[in-house]
Symmetry: C3
């Protein structure tokens, strides 16, 4: 099979797709590593490859990674971390950031219930990490000071089950699908089916999540796509181009930074984080997007999503020095990352009926062409008027 990574079961065929799968328990012997090349992926994906690894080094031990290379962009999906995306590379440009945490981190080493409410940070180093699903904002405490909701929720530290890889025999697009259950007796019962894909030769990653309330009772839902970029995309003068109708700084520090909310500054020791809550313009169908571009307009990420699905957009500027995490976050969400109680008061917590399902679609595109970047910038600016 041309598989250099040794004795793994060959991927099984499944209605025109090639797929690998895990079921439990009799058949639960999932390959810990493999490499799929042209032969396995077929003629439409001939320049592509898929590599699965199970990491074995310190706090990464046990993390499963699925690296998809479509010839133009190469990115790593993390089933073990709730279907997050670790990093992406386009030629020599890395998308993602350098967290003080050397991840990807196995959830076993993340103490979500740390009394400070900040345990989540011990696992935080992804380019794209979901916050949610029962709650997704800052930590919230009860009157007696005991933690009620930890920072950013549980979903990023719940491994996906039933992970499947598919190649579309028509157009060669490659996608990984995984199912994450945030469920328990007497608690939330939400099932997220996440499909992350790409088409050969395009510098795009598509994320399609479907979240269903599998309970017979009402369920609440909060979801934010915490999407993070450091150098080289982030540098002094990097700019967020967005069709904002309104920008609200989240606190006093952000208020001072408001005039330059969308212009990245230089790294500064001890800089405080700033959050801006944005209301974006969108098409009638909800289409909207933001651009993060380098100072010289030669590198950019164009992030498209749907405002009907994700009405709230938060910018997170963290301009500490590089070793402390020099990073900017683009965060489309169903709500803003306040505590759940605040968001509930504001009517921004979703209530899902039994069996109700919500879909979320996002496209992350890397651009490195001055003209293309200018065109997108123009389009976004026109939307504002």
């Amino acid at each position: 099979m041309g598989n250099p990574l040794a004795a793994v079961p060959p991927p099984r065929m499944k209605d025109g797709h090639r797929t690998w799968n895990a079921s439990v328990p009799a058949d639960d012997v999932l390959a810990k590593q493999f490499r799929l090349g042209p032969e396995e992926l077929g003629p439409k994906a001939s320049g592509c490859s898929v590599v699965k690894q199970t990491l074995q080094d310190g706090i990464r031990s046990g993390v499963e990674t699925i690296e998809i290379d479509n010839g133009r962009i190469r990115f790593i999906v993390l089933p073990t971390r709730g279907m997050g995306i670790w990093q992406a590379h386009c030629r020599d440009v890395r998308l993602g950031w350098d967290s003080p945490v050397r991840g990807p981190v196995h959830p076993a080493f993340v103490h979500l219930d740390e009394p400070s409410g900040l345990g989540w940070l011990a696992g935080f180093d992804e380019m794209l990490v979901r916050c949610g699903l029962e709650y997704n904002g800052g930590p919230e405490f009860k009157d007696n000071g005991v933690l009620r909701y930890g920072l950013h929720g549980r979903i990023a530290n719940i491994p996906a089950q039933d992970v499947t890889l598919s190649v579309d025999s028509e157009n060669g697009s490659i996608s990984v699908r995984g199912v994450v259950y945030e469920t328990r007796l007497f608690g939330t019962k939400l099932r997220m089916t996440s499909t992350i894909g790409t088409q050969p030769g395009r510098a795009q990653i598509t994320v399609h999540d479907s979240i269903e309330n599998i309970s017979s009772e009402l369920s609440e839902l909060e979801l934010i796509y915490h999407t993070n970029f450091g150098p080289p995309l982030l540098e002094p003068g990097s700019t967020i181009v967005a069709s904002v109708k309104k920008v609200i700084p989240c606190d006093d520090v952000a208020t001072k930074g408001l005039p330059s909310w969308n212009i990245m500054g230089k790294e500064t020791a001890g800089a405080k984080e700033q959050c801006f809550f944005c209301d974006l313009s969108a098409s009638d169908e909800g289409r909207t997007g933001v651009l993060l571009r380098s100072a010289d307009r030669r590198k950019a990420v164009y992030y498209q999503f749907n405002k009907k699905q994700l009405p709230c957009f938060t910018v997170w500027k963290n301009q500490q020095c590089k070793p402390d995490g020099y990073v900017v976050g683009l965060e489309p969400g169903t709500n803003y990352p306040n505590t759940k109680s605040v968001e509930k008061e504001q009517g921004r917590v979703i209530s899902l009926a039994p069996g109700e399902r919500r879909a979320f679609e996002l496209v992350l595109e890397y651009l490195d062409d001055l003209d293309a970047i200018g065109t997108v910038e123009e389009a976004i600016r026109e939307m504002t008027c």
Copy 2:
């Protein structure tokens, strides 16, 4: 050796039994998977098989399962979850339940110390799970609201060590033994040696636990066998037949349900759980048992244990809809699942002297014969008089 699951060391022989084992550290290379068939199990267990797996899918990753099939009943023991029993199957009837949690769940994903006290629920989906050993009831908080004892204790999330498989060359009975240490410096020091077995061709599972205080000081002990059944055994009209001397509802909700405490109702969205604390009749030697049977008396589980070992019996009715966990629990225990302080006040917490040991023996039997079920029902009813 006829082992289709590849390069594992062949099981070692041990005084007439065939056994596999793990010791640490020089020799600690435990087979992650194997299958034993007629050739390995010997002539007395010729219709039987034993399959060991190490699961690798999401929150199941790393969970070791030992599936014993005796030709009549097939069940899965979970060394990784404190020697719980995940599910059993008799022909096409599954014993166990459909938890909102898709387990069996590796303890690394269970945050027992969640401030709510309910973290244990994130791992709860077994047919038989032990609650204990230092404490086993509902969550208990200190005056300042900080968690003191989490729901149902630690034992179910402590992996067993020194797991051994034995086949009795005389009668072919197969058993798995594992040792679970609930120990720490300055804390509880209890060692549970659990042996779970079955005889070829009988629809029975036997559980024999020996719990020893390995400290040189007194130790407290609480233990409940939280044994759970959903469909198909559970259905409207399913009935618990028990020789009760007294039934005490645990709260207002249960008080309303008291008249039908032993008759299962239909699944109902938002139904509140009901607990009934029962005092059972028993023989002079302590022998007692309860029956859970289907409405048509064609399927039943007969659960036998010893009242001298397990004086308290709790019925847990949870009649939420199936996706939320439609389930009934039969819970023989050393005490009732109140908070530890309440149980201590009531004198129901065991005090074990240094080196003292308690044995607990239970038999779970599946019945699918109308006459046999009627006979058992009769025997239990007579005991009541």
Copy 3:
């Protein structure tokens, strides 16, 4: 390659050393087990061996052990537990202790954030375990009773990354190096590079740790080497020989034990632990050391370190019965194991500038020669005058 443990990649050569390594993610396929003998280790280490295992038994599952045998002393390094040392053996004498915990314990089973602050104890069974790095003392609570700092800090439950094994081709010395990151966004950012080594034929283990503040902001640091011995070295009459200038009992219980602070008593059910905070004499360069010897002076551990690096020395006497942990701790540290607030008030918490690094060097030597022990004892006593 003479490797009896099967299909592992052969160790790679690296500038005169033989080394194995892990990098992430493309190359992250670390051998789970191997054995290196004379052929791999080279002529200068011809009597030595190195065995790597990944344990698979209960709460040990996933723990990586590296056992180095230099022909005279044999010891096990635990990369998975922050580069601790589990146990050592010299011929038939075991150094280390019998904890009620049957470790080494994988950090996934240690709930550091247990509200009691004592979760760390669930993993505590090493001969040498580091306490730190953000905090290292007793548990500290906020005014509302919520845990602020858990007992003994996080470092012992953070697996090391980038683990490397080296053999010096000049003198045959063997060392294991690992890097432990205690880092997170908005938190401590300390990197410990630990090198644990030995020379062929000498009953010595050397520990060299370098801890660097990799943040661009100030960082605090606390570090204690919690080094623990039980029988056979510990017995009634075992004595700590130390050049003390001052010994301060930590509480009332210790005050009563002060007259015999350095003489070990017999095991006693329910005995309370006693801590003594010592100020040791040292050479101008800071060289100092303590000896723990058996009653008959035929067995001893000589522990040398540098007072300029580790100014505080704590003796921990725990004379409970053997099953409860009969153990004495020799604890050189940057501070005493009080709560962090107390140590900070006393000016004993280190402040590290951005990029600043501290080195810590310790030597553990086993002695079994009456004369040699006498000579060391003499030398220490002279230092006192």
